[in-house]
Symmetry: C2
Subunit: 149 residues, 2 copies
DNA sequence: TTAAACTAGTTCAAAGTTAAACTAATTTGA
DNA sequence: TCAAATTAGTTTAACTTTGAACTAGTTTAA
């Protein structure tokens, strides 16, 4: 929401840019991910399929890191994808604590279908900005995101 | 995650900037909002208190719009704040469908306490960027966020 | 005037989310 | 060597979130 706040100029600027960043990210994500409901996929589920598609089989732990979720959460997200037979769990022979997640043929086919549409949506959203503006936005975001929690 | 994708340059650029935007907004929000757990407030609850603090009494519908949540969700968020006596519901006399939400004294006192700390956190995150960079980020975010769904 | 359309808010089911406590397997270092 | 620490994943409780179906009040237009 807009800032109705009497503070220093630097405070006002910081609040305004924080809100705009949050809104922009939310608006863009929701427009890009809206079509996932057509496939009954959540954003987290799509994130898992996409990671496996591009990176090959991964451990649950690595998937959790990729999509920025807790390991407890990833267990459930994976359970739901396994139920739909889009992925499978395979225990690691060497390190029996770990489980590798693989795309099934059905999962591969689904993400094969969705991914190009996803890219088209991302492009159409981001092409609101010129290539130079996109590069600048990326630079600023990287700078902000890099700090330690 | 980084883009392992063989597509056009514009597609790659768009995917990269989209991911960076999402990550940066997530990282910054999580760092800024972390202290809300000290007050047992969720981000949505804080958003409601903040909106009422700066804008005065609002209808549930308007609160939902402000914090970008569904009306179903706002009902629960408000229920939980009412239970803690931080806000009250008052039926509109003229339009009996509508309910106005008011801050209680306790709610006012709480947000009075939290808000300056919140501002300090936002400032400290955003001052990673120079004032000029903040203005540019705000401009780019506004451009992206303004589009219609 | 009054039926249809719309609007505000509630309820419910399904899923996601986190944090914490837990099991089981592996690594480490005294 | 082997107990302690660490790591991978699961489970649970408490909660948030969404979307859809629903109730009830208001507006509109034939």
């Amino acid at each position: 929401m807009s800032t109705h706040y009497q503070g220093s100029d630097t405070a006002k600027r910081a609040l305004d840019v924080y809100i705009k960043l949050d809104r922009a990210a939310g608006a863009v994500s929701s427009r890009i991910n809206h079509h996932l409901t057509d496939y009954s996929l959540t954003v987290s589920q799509f994130g898992v399929l996409e990671a496996l598609y591009h990176l090959g089989p991964l451990r649950q732990k690595d998937l959790a890191q990729k999509i920025l979720k807790s390991t407890g959460n990833i267990t459930l997200v994976i359970d739901n994808l396994v139920k739909r037979k889009l992925i499978t769990r395979k225990r690691d022979k060497r390190d029996r604590r770990a489980i590798h997640i693989h795309l099934t043929e059905a999962g591969k086919a689904l993400i094969d279908d969705i991914f190009p549409k996803h890219v088209a949506r991302v492009e159409s959203e981001m092409n609101i900005l010129s290539p130079e503006e996109q590069d600048e936005l990326q630079r600023l975001c990287r700078k902000l995101g890099l700090q330690q929690p």
